[in-house]
């Protein structure tokens, strides 16, 4: 029963990922009082791209076409780590947040290589900026997760979620506050949302993620877009799971099983709206202000870890 | 009788060589005399091994310590004679500088040094050490150039003054002995003094006064730092075989004299005073010599300062005392003499192929003279105390003794000095080996005999770097017993 639930929640996460992007885009459009595309638009894009031919630059080597595949596979495997419906996941027991973070790192590394293989300046530009952002984002992300893991006295994702579920929401220690703050800032940087990177632009000055995938087309581009969507969903699910897991089905009763998906969808919707609001209320930061943005995240993460020792 | 033979052979050789006019005959006679000398020394060492102490008449005596230093002289003499066969072909004929004069003075020099080792009484010891200075002064000034004459004069004046103080020290000790009831006729005999040593404690400050004067006197001959100034000039200006002999044999000879006095003083008033003095001289010598090696410009002067440094290390070995310290010091004198003669032979063939010894003007040795540069590398690594070679063993012994006696300051200072010396040597040798060869052709092709000698030294250094043969080990033990 548990295993089935695990597999379902992993597939659920991968399936609704494009939907989440659709919802975010739609809400952002509404805020900017535009009609905006339908919520199901990302699915249509994916289907269209899968049918198109795969254009490959002549200078590119085999790695160019391999990178999207590895990115997608790794991101989907990472998705299997996050407890969604009940506080355990397919790899939740054995795997832990260090493995999760470094799996995402594989995807990012191969995407950067794929971008530079294109042979144009956009790939190099995107990869270089991605290197800057990821170099500064990984440490706070890990430290935040470390602080939460210390409180939960375990390293596995399911263990962390289980310990937060058991606590009373009002008595959560300050560490969770700092960790949440750091995670949010890092999430924005990781998924390439507005203050750090504008997902919807093709302006050389500002794009990071888009620059890397400029050369891709057809199924490769589809895989990359889907992987990106899964990554967004995955990080939002992680935020929800680690900091507000209270709707999860702790027992296998029917009511709990019905309530869990609803709670998850509701929380995801709230997060999507929050992202949309942030995106439309802020302008993209200048490239060399991103380090201060992530510096803030590192400070919060260091405080979180320090407080785990002080508040013991 | 064997001891008398030891003295007669070099003396007669000196006279005979003087008579033969043509250089070839002189060389042949010299080689013959050399081999005879080897046989005599071997026989004497063998006799000492079996009999412990050999006495001849009132004034000649040889014990374990003498045997060890005799062996040193034998090896060095052999090396120098073989090397000088090839080296002499370009000595200018002058009033005093022709092969026959060279060989006779060398044998005279050997005669005086062997006399030092064999002399029983301290007065006789002083006379022979003074005569070594006189014999070698002419050899230092052999080339009769401006530099050689200046070096010879300075060597003669400084060493004679130094030795005069040693005489004053000997007299003070003689006075102390006579005052505490030793029969004046034999008051200067070393063995008599050794037995009467405890009695000398009564005239405590006289014995200390005598050791101070003797330390300054023989220290000048050994080349401890405040009194070392003659050494670089003498070694740089003397012909190569002679500077090898000066560095390898003469310094050990003066050290032998100081050792004789040190044993008497430590038996009389305890070794604290004399060993502190030796430690002071040792630390001064290694520090100043190491620093000066960094800024040297002439290869032979560099080697001279390295001799001062190694004599400083030997002084430290003896100063630290203990069986391991003294054993290390003795072994270090032997290893150092071989390694230093190897370096001087290399310097000789460098002068022959490049015409100069100024290190800035020597480039591209590795390509033009591969065998000499191999010798230079082996020699430099050996005197820097690197592992595969023998000096690493003796330095390891002295360091072990220092740490066992928990004299941390001295040990740390020695380690720092060894690093500075290694840096200095590497800096100089690297600049000479590398780079393009200067165009003008090689002046003189070094002879195979010179390379043979270098080969012998290298094999010695490597073999003694790994293991010490049984025979040599108990010779060292026997020398240690005398000093204990």
């Amino acid at each position: 029963m548990n295993l089935a639930l695990d597999v379902i929640q992993a597939l659920l996460l991968v399936a609704i990922a494009p939907l989440v992007r659709g919802v975010v885009a739609r809400v952002k459009a509404r805020i900017q009082n535009r009609r905006g595309a339908s919520v199901w638009r990302p699915y249509a894009d994916l289907l269209k791209l899968f049918r198109k031919q795969d254009l490959v630059p002549e200078t590119a080597s085999g790695l160019f076409r391999l990178a999207p595949v590895i990115l997608f596979a790794v991101t989907v495997t990472a998705a299997a780590f996050i407890p969604v419906l009940h506080p355990s996941a397919l790899f939740g027991a054995g795997g832990d947040f260090i493995l999760l973070v470094y799996l995402l790192a594989i995807g990012r590394f191969f995407l950067m290589l794929g971008a530079m293989d294109g042979g144009s300046s956009f790939g190099g530009m995107g990869a270089s900026r991605e290197a800057l952002v990821s170099a500064l984002a990984e440490a706070p992300l890990l430290l935040a997760l470390v602080s939460v893991a210390i409180l939960a006295h375990t390293v596995t994702m399911s263990g962390i979620v289980l310990s937060t579920v058991r606590q009373n929401p009002l008595h959560l220690s300050a560490v969770y506050g700092f960790a949440l703050g750091a995670m949010i800032l890092v999430a924005i940087a990781e998924t390439g949302r507005i203050p750090v990177d504008n997902p919807a632009t093709h302006l050389e000055l500002t794009m990071i993620h888009e620059a890397m995938v400029l050369e891709y087309s057809g199924p490769s581009l589809a895989l990359i877009e889907w992987a990106n969507a899964v990554k967004l969903a995955l990080i939002m699910a992680m935020l929800v799971g680690v900091f507000a897991p209270w709707g999860m089905a702790t027992s296998t009763s029917i009511a709990a099983l019905v309530l869990a998906p609803l709670a998850f969808v509701f929380k995801l919707a709230v997060l999507a709206v929050a992202i949309a609001v942030i995106e439309s209320s802020m302008a993209k930061l200048r490239m060399y202000l991103v380090p201060d943005f992530l510096g803030m995240a590192s400070a919060l993460a260091i405080l979180a870890v320090a407080f785990t020792a002080l508040m013991r | 009788m064997t001891l008398l033979l030891l003295l007669l052979v070099p003396f007669c050789a000196a006279l005979i060589v003087l008579t033969c006019k043509e250089p070839e005959r002189a060389v042949r006679v010299a080689i013959a005399a050399g081999t005879l000398q080897m046989v005599a020394i071997a026989n004497a060492v063998w006799r000492i091994r079996s009999a412990g102490v050999v006495q001849f008449g009132r004034y000649l005596r040889a014990d374990g310590l003498t045997a060890f230093f005799l062996l040193n002289i034998a090896v060095i003499l052999a090396l120098v004679l073989v090397y000088s066969i090839g080296y002499l072909r370009h000595i200018p004929a002058g009033r005093f500088s022709s092969p026959r004069w060279f060989y006779s003075l060398t044998f005279l020099f050997t005669f005086t040094m062997i006399a030092v080792y064999l002399s029983a009484s301290l007065g006789m010891l002083w006379i022979c050490v003074e005569s070594t200075t006189l014999a070698s002064a002419l050899l230092v000034g052999f080339y009769n150039t401006k530099g050689a004459v200046e070096a010879g004069w300075k060597y003669l004046v400084v060493c004679t003054v130094g030795i005069a103080f040693a005489l004053f020290g000997t007299i003070a000790l003689y006075l102390a002995a006579v005052k505490s009831g030793v029969n004046p006729a034999s008051a200067l005999d070393w063995s008599v003094l050794m037995n009467a040593a405890p009695g000398l404690a009564a005239t405590r400050d006289l014995v200390k006064l005598s050791f101070v004067f003797v330390a300054v006197g023989y220290g000048t001959k050994i080349g401890f730092v405040p009194m070392h100034s003659w050494l670089p000039d003498a070694h740089a200006e003397a012909p190569t075989p002679i500077s090898a002999m000066l560095s390898a044999a003469l310094l050990n000879c003066a050290l032998y004299a100081l050792l004789r006095f040190d044993t008497i003083t430590s038996h009389a008033i305890g070794s604290a005073f004399s060993h502190t003095l030796l430690l002071i001289f040792g630390c001064l010598s290694i520090t100043v010599a190491a620093l000066l090696m960094v800024v040297q410009r002439d290869l032979k002067r560099l080697l001279a300062y390295s001799s001062i440094e190694h004599m400083g290390i030997v002084a430290l070995g003896i100063g630290i005392g203990g069986p391991l310290g003294i054993l290390g010091a003795l072994l270090h004198t032997f290893n150092h003499s071989i390694a230093k003669s190897l370096m001087f032979f290399t310097a000789g063939s460098v002068r022959e192929s490049f015409g100069t010894l100024r290190m800035r003007r020597i480039h591209g040795m590795a390509r033009s003279v591969p065998f000499t540069s191999a010798g230079l590398v082996v020699g430099a690594l050996a005197i820097a105390g690197m592992p595969p070679f023998a000096l690493f063993i003796s330095e390891f012994m002295i360091l072990t003794a220092a740490f066992t006696a928990s004299r941390y300051f001295i040990a740390i200072l020695l380690l720092l000095v060894l690093s500075v010396v290694f840096g200095a040597l590497l800096h100089h040798v690297q600049r000479m080996l590398a780079g393009k060869r200067t165009e003008e052709p090689a002046r003189l092709k070094p002879l195979p005999s010179q390379f043979a000698v270098m080969g012998i030294c290298t094999t010695y250094l490597i073999v003694f770097g790994i293991c010490i043969p049984r025979v040599f080990a108990n010779l060292l033990q026997r020398a240690l017993v005398v000093l204990q």
Partner: protein, 657 residues
């Protein structure tokens, strides 16, 4: 039987130079010594493997030969490091057979093989020595032989300067190691490891701290800890590639072996501040090492700096182990030590792979400047793939061996929070942040390296016409890559003996298996990724080759691609304080003021400790020497004055003593 193999391994390495001399005459037996060398290394790997996995001890005593005790004893720790030496040595030897043939003529090649075998012998001697004399004998020889190997390769002014710095620093380090061994003397007369171990227990605290500081400096200089790392980026790049692979991958590990032997075997841990000092040194070394690597565009200098970084990571693990020992929780100390040693093994594998890759690239394109390379993956398929595996491992991506060591280190840092003291509970987890930062910057650095060198458009004709290297070289690199991947996927095969060795070393009980699940989950994750990859490739359509999109411009030239300096510019700007670059802009005006003829911008990194730490020290020594030189005035009267002053000084001294 294993003992016999061990003895034959040592003798073959010792006698190889003689064999070279014998069979260099006839061309038929010319290749014999190199094969013999390879065979010896394989035997060595077998011996080390048996002793490491099965734990049987070997001993060989040569004290009858030498004056001081000179003996070998292979316990599990020595076997582990001997395994590193031989397991990395064998592929490097295989790689060198064609490499030496192509690059060096007759005598140089013979010298190369002779010194290589002696170099490996001296390292095995260091690792398996069981007496101080043997250890120090091997320690100094190791430096000499490696310097000899570097000297063979070439003879320019810069090389001489680098070799000089390398030898002098190594000698200074060796002096510190000398002192640390000999400080045991008053208590341990024999200076063999057994009596040293006994003496270490009874030593007074002050002496223990002195020994600790000495061996920290001594082994730190050899390992390349930051203030003493100056020689590493100077010596490794100028060595021939197989030698720099051996130096970087294996020689640095002998320093780690020395440190572990002293800190854990002799002393069995020490006060907590030891651990903090080591962790601080490791953190600073790691961060600065990778930051300097980021700015390099010479392939080998970059890899040398990344060795400094990895040594920093290993020291982080060792520091954590020391802290755990100080707070007497040996179980987690064992995990931290296993993490450090595993990272040492992994580093030796992927670093030698990368250096051999660099050798292959330099063999094919005759240049090591990645600004002139590009598009090599298409032209050198095997070297490219193998280099990619090396890069992935060094960054510590899962499914490759770099990750396992770092995961264990993370795990032990997090476990540090359970320690009683506030300080250790706060510092250890924060070190996890430092490790993550190092890993992230390493990812950026090696993405730059691989992206600029192997992908995109070739930036020079040499890179354009690069062809694949000899098969033996490819095979050697493939073996190392396979090792990296197998350890990455199934770390269990190495973890279990390592844990056993660490327990034996720290006398600690084992950890519950649940705490370290890594060995079981990695294969499942790998399987899941593999399944997904195969599934997704099924969707793919035929591909169409088109020219790269150039915003409508006619053609894209290779100069339009991101160069390595451009790639690392953002990060260099962020970490400007670490580089303190002095930037010069020269503007050349033709004749009118506002229209410059040429603008030259130059930015040079200044923080390499040479100017601030080493230059003043050398100048002080030379200054003192110059002043002393003036004492030798040349005037006889002054010399006589020195003698009289010395005499009077001693007389005064005598009066008071």
């Amino acid at each position: 039987m294993v003992q016999l193999a061990f003895n034959s391994f040592l003798t073959v390495l010792l006698l190889l130079p003689a064999a070279i001399l014998l069979c260099r005459r006839s061309s038929r037996t010319r290749a014999l010594p190199s094969l013999l060398f390879l065979l010896a290394l394989l035997v060595g790997t077998f011996v080390a493997g048996m002793s490491f996995w099965r734990g049987d001890r070997l001993a060989l005593d040569l004290s009858w030969l030498t004056l001081f005790p000179f003996a070998f004893a292979v316990d599990r720790l020595s076997a582990f490091f001997l395994l590193i030496i031989c397991a990395v040595g064998a592929p490097v030897a295989l790689f060198s057979i064609p490499y030496v043939e192509r690059h060096y003529s007759g005598t140089k090649a013979d010298w190369m093989w002779a010194l290589l075998s002696l170099f490996l012998l001296s390292m095995s001697l260091v690792v398996t020595a069981s007496t101080a004399f043997a250890f120090l004998f091997g320690w100094e020889l190791m430096t000499l032989f490696s310097a000899g190997l570097i000297v063979i390769d070439g003879d320019s002014e810069r090389r001489r300067h680098n070799i000089f710095i390398y030898l002098v620093m190594m000698h200074a380090g060796a002096a510190a190691v000398f002192a640390s061994f000999l400080l045991f003397l008053p208590h341990a007369p024999g200076l063999d490891f057994v009596s040293i171990r006994a003496a270490a227990a009874t030593m007074p605290a002050g002496l223990r701290t002195a020994v600790f500081l000495l061996f920290f400096v001594g082994f730190g200089t050899k390992a390349g800890i930051v203030p003493f790392h100056l020689w590493l980026p100077k010596a490794h790049p100028i060595a021939p590639s197989p030698v720099s692979a051996l130096m970087s991958a294996v020689m640095l590990k002998t320093a780690i072996y020395g440190f572990v032997r002293f800190a854990f075997d002799f002393f069995g841990g020490g006060p907590a501040w030891w651990g903090y000092l080591i962790m601080l040194a490791g953190a600073v070394t790691g961060v600065l090492g990778i930051l300097y690597a980021l700015t390099e565009h010479d392939l080998k200098r970059l890899l040398a700096y990344s060795s400094v970084e990895n040594i920093g990571i290993i020291y982080l693990g060792l520091g954590a182990a020391l802290v755990f020992m100080a707070n007497n929780s040996p179980a987690w100390a064992m995990v931290a030590l296993v993490a450090a040693l595993l990272h040492a093994l992994n580093h030796s594998l992927f670093k030698s792979l990368l250096f051999l890759g660099a050798g292959a690239v330099s063999d094919a394109t005759h240049t090591l400047d990645i600004e002139l390379l590009g598009g090599l993956l298409k032209r050198m398929r095997v070297t490219g793939t193998v280099f990619l595996i090396g890069c992935c491992s060094i960054i510590g991506l899962p499914l490759f061996n770099g990750f396992v060591g770092e995961w264990l280190m993370f795990r032990s840092f997090i476990a540090g929070s359970e320690l009683p003291g506030i300080a250790s509970a706060a510092i250890l987890p924060l070190m996890a942040g430092v490790l993550a930062l190092i890993g992230a910057i390493a990812a950026a650095c090696f993405a730059k390296l691989y992206g600029v060198a192997f992908l995109g458009r070739p930036r020079s004709i040499a890179a354009e016409h690069a062809t694949e290297v000899a098969t033996a070289m490819q095979a050697a690199m493939a073996v190392l890559a396979a090792a990296c991947v197998t350890i990455g996927l199934m770390p269990g095969i190495v973890l279990s003996p390592l844990t056993a060795m660490a327990q034996e070393l720290l006398h600690s009980s084992g950890l519950p298996e649940a705490e370290i699940p890594i060995a079981h989950t990695l294969p499942f994750i790998a399987a899941c990724i593999a399944v997904l990859v195969i599934a997704v490739t099924g969707f793919r359509r035929i591909k169409r080759i088109t020219p790269t999109w150039a915003c409508g411009l006619p053609t894209l030239s290779s100069r339009m691609q991101y160069s390595s300096a451009a790639f690392s510019k953002p990060l260099r700007k962020v970490f400007a304080r670490a580089y303190k670059p002095d930037r010069t802009v020269e503007v050349l005006y033709a004749n009118e003021p506002y229209f410059p003829q040429s603008i030259v911008y130059r930015s040079v990194r200044t923080t390499s400790f040479e100017k601030s730490l080493y230059r003043p020290a050398v100048d002080a020594i030379v200054g003192m020497a110059a002043r002393l030189r003036r004492l030798q005035t040349g005037n006889v009267q002054v010399y006589l004055l020195y003698i009289f002053l010395a005499l009077i000084a001693l007389l005064v001294f005598m009066r008071f003593v």
